[in-house]
Every structure is written in C-alpha cells, then in structure tokens.
Amino acid sequence: MTKQNRTTTTLLRGTLALGLLGVIGAYLKASPERFWANWILWFVLLFTVALGALFIVALEHLVNAKWSVPIRRIPERIATLLIPVVPVGLIALGALPVLYPGTRPEALHNKILAGKAFWLGIPFFSARTVVSLALVLVGLLVLVRGSFRQDQTKDPAFNFRARKFAPAFMAIFALVITLVAFDWVSGLTPEWYSDIFGVYLFAGAFLGGLAVTSLSVLHLKDQGRLEGVRKDHLYNLGGFLFAFTVFWSYIGFAQYMLMWYANLPDEVIYFQTRLTGGWHTVTFALAFFHFVMPFFALVTRDAKGDGSRLRRVALLILAAHILDIYWLIFPILPGGPHLSWPELSFALLFLSGALLWIRGAMEKGEDMPVGDPFLKEGLEFRL
C-alpha cells in the first residue's frame, strides 16, 4: 500500500469518526422522525447500489456476456457491500413504529390501512426484510465467492453453475428490489401506491451500481491495475449509463403523467407534496441532474468511451441517485427539504464507511477473474 493510500485511509477513518459523532448527536438531539428518515435513506441507497452491482454480475452470467469478464471483479467487489448493509437494514427496523403509518395502532381506524394491517404490520414487515437480506446473501455467496474461488481452482465448472443460477437470481432480484421499493420507500405513504414503483427503483439501483463500477474501474485503471481494459470496455459502461438514464426518466415520467392526468386525490397527493414549496426546486433539480445533464454529456459516440468524461458523469449520476432517494423519502417530514448537520453527519458516516469498505474490497483476490476461461475473449473485445 502506497503512502498516499495510507493517508486517504486515515482521512476516511477521521471523517467516519466525525460522522459517527454527528449521528449519535442526531439520535440524542434531533427528532426521531428525522433520525430514522436519514437512516432509511442511507440503508436504501447502499442496498440499491450493492444490489445493482450484483445485478451487473448476474446479468453477465445470464446472457453469457464476454466483454465484461475483465471488469467483472469490480462489481463483484462492490457487491460485497451487501455484508455491512445487513446490520444497517436490521437496525433500520427500528424506524417501523416511528415512520411507517401502517405499523401504528391507529392505522386500524383507517379503512384502507386496516385492510392491509397484516402486510404492513411489524412482524411480517420484519420477516420480509430478513428474508430479502438472506436471499441476496445467498446470491452473493454463489456468484461472488464462487468467482473468487475460481481464481485458484481455475475450474470452468463455476461458469456453468453461475449460468444456471443467474435466472433464479434474477427472480430473487426482482422480488427483493420490489420489496425494498414497496416496503421501505412507498411504505412511508401506505395510502399511495404505484405499480411501476419497483421498476423505478430498479432503474435507479442499476444506475447506482453502474456508476460506482465505472468510477472504480477508472480509478484502478489510473493505478495501472486493469491492464487490457480499453476504451471499448469503457464505451459499453458509458452506453449502459446512457441507456438507463433514459430508462429511469421514462419510468419516472410515465408514473408521474398517469397520476397527473387521472388527478385522483389519493394518488396525486404524492406529487403535490413534491411540487410545492421547497420540494419544487428539488424535483426539477432531480430531472436536470438525473436526466438532462447525463443525457447530453453522453449522447455522442466519443463521450461514452472517454475516461475523464465518464468519470465526471458517473459521479454526477451517483450524486443524482442519492438525490433521488432523498426525494423519495424526505418529503414525509413536514416543513420542506431538510439539509443540516444531521443529514451531513449521516452522509459523512455512511459515505466514508462505504468508501473504506470498497477500498478494502478492491484489495481482495485478483483484479481480474483470472480463472475464468472467457477472460481472454473478454480482453480481445472490440466494438
């Protein structure tokens, strides 16, 4: 480890400690609603990014893609972030009585919520979360640990196993991301529902995973560690980012437009809160930073393969994904957008924690899946 790396690690540990102090302060001083809204924000964010990375790995096995074999180790390492997400998710269950109206006793007086009492109630809600976390850990075990082991064994049997497991994992992934969306995010406003909501969060999760993957690939390339990864591989990452910003906007706008048109009070209230007061600005900022800017930044052919531009766009998309989750969760707090020391402390704690974890993970195993028989074909990939 170089001297510069050690300095960065020390710095990150410092910000982690600072963030932890702030979070403890928020627990003692800030209102419980605000504390738990922050907690859920970071739980959902880290969960979607890690799950998005695991989705990239599974997608490669599912469609038998060759181009992504040389960079597959990067999303595999990022997906290990699911391990620290498990305790974060279990702690997040503490938010249920505070933030989720469906878990409160007065919900039984509400006709709509009383009908869903079993689904929204704490026991079944917690059970779903535990099962979801367990299911994705199984996916991590099969896809990522198997791949790391192949570095030594060089056994192509792993490829067959992963290809067989990938379709099953896709079903698990669809279920888990939908549960995260419906339970943790739209469960905050249980009288409002949208069928497409799971797909909306999936688009954000895939983008988040892709953005972190692209940033890590570019970072390791700068250190000269991913030899053989060329512009052609970057182009595909850029193409995916470009395509899915459009997909995200398509889903987001389709959801909005149908509700805007129908104008039913129980549906349109969701967007009413997000289009009045301070949230109006946040909504338009989200549309600009999550769609307009990345779209025009990546629209040309050269842009998608250009490392320095890709790095900036990936950073932008990651920030926009954070803003997206913030926009989904925070309007339940009254009084416009909140951004003060509790939010910043949470950001410090979880961002430094996640960065430390990913930096550690980047030293695990080989930089490329050297045991994969398709590695050579992947390195020879040309557009």
């Binding site: 909005y256 437009m257 805007w260 048109y261 629209v299 052919r301 040309r382």
Partner: protein
C-alpha cells in the same frame, strides 16, 4: 451506360497483414478516399484507413431535437392558441400531456433521418449495382483476398497514379472500376406502376373490409360512442325505480337562475317592470338573442315578415302593429316566457336576463320603424 469516368482503382492483397501494412504507403500519396473490402472484419482498419467520422450522428441529433420542437410547438398552437379547450380539467397549456407525442415525433424524425440519410445522402442511392460487385476481384474478395480501393473524389482523379501507387504497395490484380450506371430512376412507366400498385392495394383492402363487415355483422368496427354509461334525455332507464331517465326537480326547490316570475296570466304580467337598464351592452345582448331566436319568424325588423314561411301555415305577429307597440314590457316578457298561440315557450332556452334584454331590443326596433320628424333635429344637433 458508363460515362467513361473511373469510380475507383482496386488492388488485391494476400493477407490481412499485407493489407494493413500497405495502407499507410498508399494513404500518404493522398490520391483519393480509401476503402477496404475484406472477407471478415479486421479490427483497427477504420483508424488505419483514416475514415472520416460519419456525419449521420449529428444529423440525427439535429433532426431529433427538431422533431421534439415541432411536436411541442404544434401541440402548443392547436391546444393553447388555435382551439383552446379544457379537457379532463387540464389547462390548455399542459406540457405534461404533450411529452408522449414529443417523444414519438423525436423518434420518428430521428429514425427517418438515420435510415433515409444513410441510404440517399451518404450511400448516394439509388444506383444499379455497386461497381465493386461487378468487378473481376469480387469472387476473390468474398473468398480469401483482401482488397484496397482508391476511390475518386472530385474531378481531378488520376487513375494511372492510383494504379502505380497500388503496384508500388505490391498489390496484385489491379483494376480500374467505372462509374456505376445511374440510369433514369423516376420514369413515367415506373411512376405508373407504383401508382397502379397502390390503387390496386386500396381497392383490395376496401373490398376485404366490406366483406368482413358483411360476414361478421355482430362485430361493429367501433361502438364506444353508442354505448355510453349515462342517462339519455327522453329515454327510459332502469336505474330509477319509475323507469324514467329524466328526473323531475326535487319538490320545493328552484334551480339557480330560474326563479318563478310571480304572475299567473298575461294580464297580471302587465305590472312587471323591465329590471335591466337600457345600455348599449343590454341592447347588444338583446340583438344577439333576437337574431338567434326571434328573427326567423318575426323578421329582422320585427314586422312579422318572416324568412321561413313557405312551408309554414302560421302567421307570426307583426310586432310593429299598434297593438304591440302599446303592450307594456311585462306582456311581451310573458309571451316569450310562456309562449303564445303557435309560438313555443322560450323559458328553457333563454335566461330571465336574456328575455328582458330582448324586450328592450324589440322596443328599440319599434322606435326605429316609427321615427318622428323631430328625431332629425335631434340627430342634427349632435
């Protein structure tokens, strides 16, 4: 036939390596555009040939943006300017509703530009057969040889120099390809056949449609307008117990703007006073109502000479007669409200205000048709 000009000079190489090493040697002489023809794709040959970036991407972007602007502008014009109409409780200018169509038109413009731009502008179609396809070398190219072509760009193409350059790069089987035959494309015969084909297709489709409707009469093409879940006027409906679609007002209530006039005969109505002031606005309203409702029978001058009596036996009242000029306002109002002789009641069609306004207007017509001499003095004094 061929115009005698050369399209390109083409030479063959035995291997992909030989082709790639030869390209820089030929390229530095700058005799024309380079193009390679190979049995399989060779990575990196685009850069070696120095192919210019296709302008298609930029064209597609421009046309896509133009499509979005066109769709937005057109929808804005029709729904907010030319015919503003409130649909579904939305304001005429509701950009959210325009987005799907903007999306579609963007895609339409972009794909048409990509397809037609590639074929017509960049590939310069139509022409009958690419020269390379009719060359001597084509069999070798599709089997195991690698061809390099120097294509003519503009008038000053030196075929001899190109042949020499290829020979210097140790190419074999060098040949000069003539310009492709761009025969006349839109001949009258061709247009006639296309138009005839379209006409035949339309006739056949129409006959098939007719047969389908005749054969399957239970499947009307579209009946949504007929089957509406609402109560129709004058129709029976099973929704209410008494089976009537139309309902009586709730007993003891009065609809807004339909207060009872408070008198029960035309004689009693004589006591009613016109509540409206005699202002230009009121007279304009009265004239409009008179044009729409009264003029057809009573005539434009209210003199009982109608425009529509050829097939009608009734005799409309001449409102210019002394009898009606002496009528109090209230009795005219009563006649409009309750109807008189063959004239039906207009109470359902005209509001109370409109009825009083038309009374004012009738008074103005009567005065205008019976002008006095001293009116001239008054007009002169102005």
């Amino acid at each position: 036939m061929s115009s005698g000009k050369s399209f390109a000079v083409l030479g063959l190489f035995d291997s992909a390596d030989a082709l790639v090493t030869a390209i820089p040697k030929v390229r530095e002489k700058q005799l024309g555009g380079l193009e390679a023809y190979t049995p399989y794709p060779i990575h990196g040959i685009d850069e070696a040939l120095g192919l210019r970036r296709s302008p298609l991407g930029g064209m597609v972007l421009v046309m896509g943006v133009l499509g979005a602007i066109t769709a937005l502008g057109f929808q804005y014009w029709i729904s907010a300017i030319d015919y503003p109409i409130v649909t579904g409780g939305k304001a005429p200018w509701s950009w959210e509703a325009f987005v799907p169509i903007m999306f579609e038109v963007t895609v339409l413009f972009a794909t048409f530009t990509a397809g037609l731009g590639m074929l017509l502008l960049l590939n310069k179609l139509p022409f009958f057969g690419h020269p390379v396809l009719s060359s001597e070398s084509i069999k070798a190219i599709t089997r195991d040889r690698f061809a390099l072509a120097i294509e003519a760009e503009g008038e000053g193409f030196d075929a001899a120099a190109a042949q020499a350059a290829l020979a210097a790069a140790s190419a074999t089987g060098i040949e000069v390809l003539p310009e492709p035959d761009r025969g006349p494309f839109l001949t009258s015969d061709y247009i006639l056949r296309v138009a005839g084909g379209i006409f035949t297709a339309c006739v056949v489709a129409g006959l098939l449609m007719y047969a389908a409707v005749k054969l399957f009469p239970v499947l009307p093409p579209m009946s949504h307008m007929e089957d509406q879940p609402r109560l129709n006027a004058q129709k029976a409906d099973s929704f209410f117990k008494d089976g009537f679609g139309m309902r009586m007002p709730v007993p003891g209530t009065v609809a807004r703007g339909y207060l009872p006039i408070g008198v029960s005969s035309q004689e009693e109505a004589a006591s009613l006073v016109n509540p409206l002031p005699r202002t230009p606005e009121v007279l304009a309203m009265g004239r409009k109502v008179f044009h729409n409702r009264c003029e057809l029978c009573h005539g434009a001058l209210a003199d009982g000479v109608p425009t529509l009596t050829a097939a009608y036996g009734g005799k409309p009242a001449n409102l210019q007669a002394q009898q009606f000029r002496d009528y109090p306002d209230g009795k005219i109002f009563w006649a409009i409200t309750m109807g008189k002789n063959a004239m039906p009641s207009h109470a359902a069609d005209l509001t109370v205000t409109q009825r009083w306004a038309v009374v004012h207007y009738v008074r103005a017509l009567q005065r205008a048709q019976n002008a006095k001499d001293e009116d001239l003095n008054q007009a002169g004094a102005r």
